[in-house]
Amino acid sequence: MIDVRPPAPKAYPALRDPWPFRVALIALAVGFLGLFLLVPLIAVFSEALRKGTVAYLAAFGDPVGQAAIRLTLLVAAIAVPVNLVFGVCAAWVIARFEFRGKSLLITLIDLPFAVSPVVAGLIYILVYGANGWFGPFLQAHGIKVIFAVPGIVLATIFVTFPFVARELLPVMQSQGSEEELAALSLGASGWQTFWRVTLPKVRWGLLYGVILCNARAMGEFGAVSVVSGHIRGLTNTIPLHVEILYNEYNLVAAFAMASLLTFLAMLTLGLKAWSEWRMRTGNTHSLSGGAG
């Protein structure tokens, strides 16, 4: 099999920098990463474990803390599937069809990236709050959105919307639609083609998008903070609970909770590296398959 990836730069001696320069650059990069990323990471765990493992584990016995963990899991369990479905639809539509307003749609998908999460939260208050557009209607029907779980879910969906669509779109565009046409010519319906060809083809990109979406859904602070109302045991997610504990000088508990999010981050990075690796090997196949 021909390897289509470009050769590593080290193949060209002319591009090789003198070694002191190289060492200095590497030291700078490693030092920067260590200072800004690794030290805080270590600090989270050293603070969480400062009074020993018993105190660390005790932090998770607090019912209010447990409620925050449950709420975070619930919000992610709703927001991620919703964004999975919408993200696949959006990427599919953009990659497959030409239509008026397509570039507007792409811009809209990126909107949550461009807007500050706090603003996103405020938009929801403006729309669904007691004095908002739908406020009177919702109140009349006894539906509580703002300062309640639905508002948190909505804000999280908004903030995490781009991840799946943005990951899938380039994968779908680069793979083209010949395989789908082949499936149709072999008698498959549109539905069969989607499930048997399109989805399996993009599965690693999809997994990558879902992982990132989930990490952000669980870790989101700004937008959720605005719409949550910070009711203990009811509308506090893990990040909000961390803030409350920290403000109350309950450092061990705050960092214990924070360590959960840190574990999530490390797991996310691991899964992400793995899915990227799978995607790359998959793409090598597609490249050599396409060029023939």
Partner: protein, 248 residues
């Protein structure tokens, strides 16, 4: 099956891809669509397959109109230029695809599908390759898997889009006479798109020469070579340069 197109017109925005194209392929015939790139030959093939639809004109299969027929209903075996094999499936699953997506009573049993797959892989001379993935195959092998996959649905016609274009010269020559022989053995009507004059003259029963969305000449290789009907055909064969027609 006999295939006929009548006055096909296809526009892509301002670009005219087909301009009143009428051709006929007789039952069991091996017809070449020959022309420079952009002459409309692939568009014609896709319209016959049902992957594209004409703005006006009609397509007829055995005297029955098939213009608006959906691709799934046409039972055409289409071999794509880059084969379009399902990259996430093994060779066996690729070949079985057309049988597995059949609904209800039409779908053969699991054992029936397996038997058909190994029969087809023997036919395309790839026995024992069932478990390989497309990226583990050479270009010529992929081409033959694509052919086996298309034949699995027992197509009424075989449509091949630049079937030998992505192969190196030696494999190309071997494969094209093999495909020709296979087509004869199966007695199936087949159309193939090519921009290579030598290829068209060597293996086709008749050749349709196309240029700028129009048919320039239809005839046997001998007729076309000895009595070119238009200046374009003359130039195209004399110089053997595929892009001559579009540069002037």
């Amino acid at each position: 099956m006999r295939i006929e197109t009548k006055d096909l017109v296809r526009r892509h925005k301002a670009f005219l891809a087909l301009d009143r194209v009428s051709i006929t392929a007789e039952n069991g015939e091996f017809l070449a669509l020959l022309g420079p790139s952009g002459s409309g030959k692939t568009t014609l093939l896709r319209i016959i397959a049902g992957l594209d639809f004409p703005d006006s004109g009609s397509v007829w299969f055995d005297g029955r109109e098939a213009t608006g027929l959906k691709v799934q209903k046409r039972r055409v075996g289409f071999v794509f230029q880059n084969y379009a094999l399902f990259r996430h499936m093994t060779v066996a699953r690729n070949v079985a695809f057309g049988l597995e997506v059949k609904g209800g009573r039409e779908r053969p049993s699991r054992a029936g599908i397996a038997a058909r797959v190994s029969e087809l892989l023997r036919l395309v001379q790839l026995p024992g390759m069932d478990g390989r993935y497309p990226h583990e195959l050479s270009g010529g092998q992929r081409q033959r898997v694509a052919l086996a996959r298309a034949l699995a649905i027992e197509p009424r016609i075989l449509l091949l889009d630049e079937p030998f274009g992505a192969l190196d010269a030696k494999v190309r020559k071997e494969l094209r006479s093999w495909v020709r022989q296979l087509q004869r053995d199966l007695r199936i009507t087949a159309l193939f798109v090519t921009h290579d004059q030598e290829e068209a003259l060597e293996i086709a029963d008749r050749v349709v020469v196309m240029n700028r969305a129009r048919v320039e000449q239809i005839g046997t290789p001998k007729e076309i070579y000895s009595r070119p009907a238009t200046p374009f055909v003359l130039e195209f064969f004399r110089d053997g340069k595929e892009d001559l027609g579009v540069t002037r």
